[in-house]
């Protein structure tokens, strides 16, 4: 197969389900490269993330999935290339994003105080915080343990609390980096329900996962990375039915990629 076929579909392949314009999307990555410790970890990445649809980033370990999310969120700077949001003002763009990490970092205070802290940082007036904290905890099913110290919660509860924190911020874009890795099926179901609810609220979901089943359940489009390169960017149904590359075919078939 010619190399050009591997660099695929840089233009959006999916119709927007929700009209853009009032949010910071689309997000364009143009020829983005990232190097660390003398190693190139992301190679010439060009892609566009559109509003409304759920994007799932797939790929084996070391593919650069987490790096891609961190680059988009602004936690790391690309070595070369450009990352452009539709909005110019970076502070305004930042306020419309939330990030849920694989291992949630919760502050040593109560569950409710963790959510309230994020709201305070975001500049939400004190008078509004209580209501929003309560609604967010309600949404993830943690209202009954609002006063419990966050650090004594179970792994699944901690991740739900991290999602509640993101929910309360009312972002337009939510990044999730392997949000259900290490969680049992019940906890995973609870997390996925919140993600689905976020999507229904019109939040752009960008999620990495190892779990093909999860990708099938939650993806509208797939970004498939391998060794820091974009191999496929395709509509989810098409990606799973007819993967366009040998790497993607092997990955979908559950084979181990070299």
């Amino acid at each position: 197969m010619p190399a050009s076929a591997l660099r695929l579909l840089e233009e959006p392949v999916i119709e927007r389900s929700i009209p853009a314009g009032d949010g910071p999307l689309p997000l364009r990555l143009e020829d983005v490269r990232f190097e660390a410790g003398g190693q190139r970890l992301i190679h010439h990445l060009t892609l566009t993330l559109e509003a409304g649809i759920r994007t799932v980033v797939l790929g084996p370990n070391g593919a650069g999935k987490s790096l891609l999310l961190r680059l988009c969120h602004g936690l790391i700077r690309p070595t070369a290339g450009a990352i452009r949001w539709a909005w110019e003002d970076p502070a305004r763009v930042r306020r419309e994003q939330a990030f849920v990490f694989q291992r949630p970092v919760l502050l040593r205070r109560s569950a409710a105080a963790n959510v309230a802290y994020a709201l305070a940082v975001a500049g939400v007036p004190r008078a509004d915080r209580g209501r929003r904290v309560e609604a967010a905890l309600q949404q993830v099913g943690l209202a009954h343990i609002a006063d419990r110290p966050a650090r004594v919660l179970s792994g699944g509860e901690q991740q739900r609390l991290a999602l509640a924190r993101a929910w309360a911020l009312e972002p337009k874009v939510l990044f999730l980096d392997e949000p259900t890795a290490n969680l049992d099926p019940a906890a995973t179901r609870a997390i996925e329900a919140v993600i689905a609810a976020m999507h229904e609220r019109g939040v752009k979901i960008v999620m990495t996962t190892h779990d093909l089943g999860q990708a099938r359940r939650h993806a509208d489009e797939i970004i498939f990375l391998h060794k820091g390169r974009l191999i496929e960017h395709a509509e989810a149904a098409r990606f799973f039915m007819r993967p366009g590359t040998p790497e993607a075919r092997a990955f979908v078939a559950g084979e181990l990629l070299a």
Binding site: L75, R94, R108, R151
Partner: protein, 234 residues
């Protein structure tokens, strides 16, 4: 053995009889050392946390210097504070030399680097864990410092205890700036030094035991509080 037995008896008698002179010395010692530690924590913790987060050229050297300052010789600090506070010194007009305030200042200078250096290490480790989350939430340095200090509170208690140990045990600084004046600036360590030099070893040892007892009691109390809180809050 004779001295030790006598000392234990003396210490026991002193404690049980609640000797007023002893009580005054003990209370003044505690007042000075606890004030110095509180002041040093107020100064040292934010400074240590700021150094943990800051990145600038020469930072490594500053960290080494700060760590080295944990071993400041009390006698040298005492001399420095003496020179600053003496009539001819730049702060002489306040008339602080040979007062408990001078002793608090000297001990604070000894303790602040200890608390700052240990805080720097604790907060730096914590920040490694929190950094991405805090940046994602848009937390700036001004807010990150109190947040990290609060979240590191259990570990930071150890820094405070190290500082208290230093303050309670040192004699070199307080004897120079306090002058060991009876009923005014006489504390446990200076009394022990005085009694030893006069040859009253039993009284000196007795006081030494009281000092040890107090240090152990303060540490034990705080440790119990710390472990209970940690258990409750995770």
């Amino acid at each position: 053995m004779g001295h030790l037995g006598e000392a234990l008896t003396t210490a026991f008698v002193l404690i049980v009889s609640a000797d007023p002179e002893l009580l005054q010395i003990v209370l003044l010692s505690l007042e000075i050392s606890l004030s110095a530690v509180a002041l040093a924590a107020l100064i040292g913790m934010p400074l240590g946390a700021a150094l943990a987060l800051a990145r600038f050229p020469g930072r490594g050297a500053l960290v080494v210097l700060l760590n080295a300052c944990m071993g400041l010789p009390p006698i040298v600090v005492g001399l420095f504070v003496y020179l600053m506070l003496s009539r001819a010194g730049p702060l002489g007009e306040f008339g602080l030399l040979f007062t408990p305030t001078a002793m608090v200042i000297a001990q604070c200078i000894l303790v602040a680097p200890i608390i700052a250096a240990l805080t720097r290490q604790t907060v730096e480790d914590l920040y490694a864990e929190y950094q991405e989350q805090l940046r994602s939430l848009g937390v700036g340095a001004a807010r990150a410092i109190p947040t990290l200090l609060w979240d590191g509170r259990f570990s930071l208690l150890t820094a405070v205890l190290a500082g208290f140990g230093r303050a309670a045990a040192e004699v070199g600084a307080v004897i120079i700036v306090g002058g060991n004046i009876n009923h005014v600036t006489r504390v446990m360590t200076t009394t022990i030094a005085l009694e030893t030099s006069k040859g009253y070893l039993a009284l000196a040892l007795g006081l030494g035991l009281v000092l040890l007892l107090i240090v152990v009691a303060v540490n034990a109390t705080l440790m119990v509080v710390q472990s209970a809180a940690r258990q409750a809050e995770g």
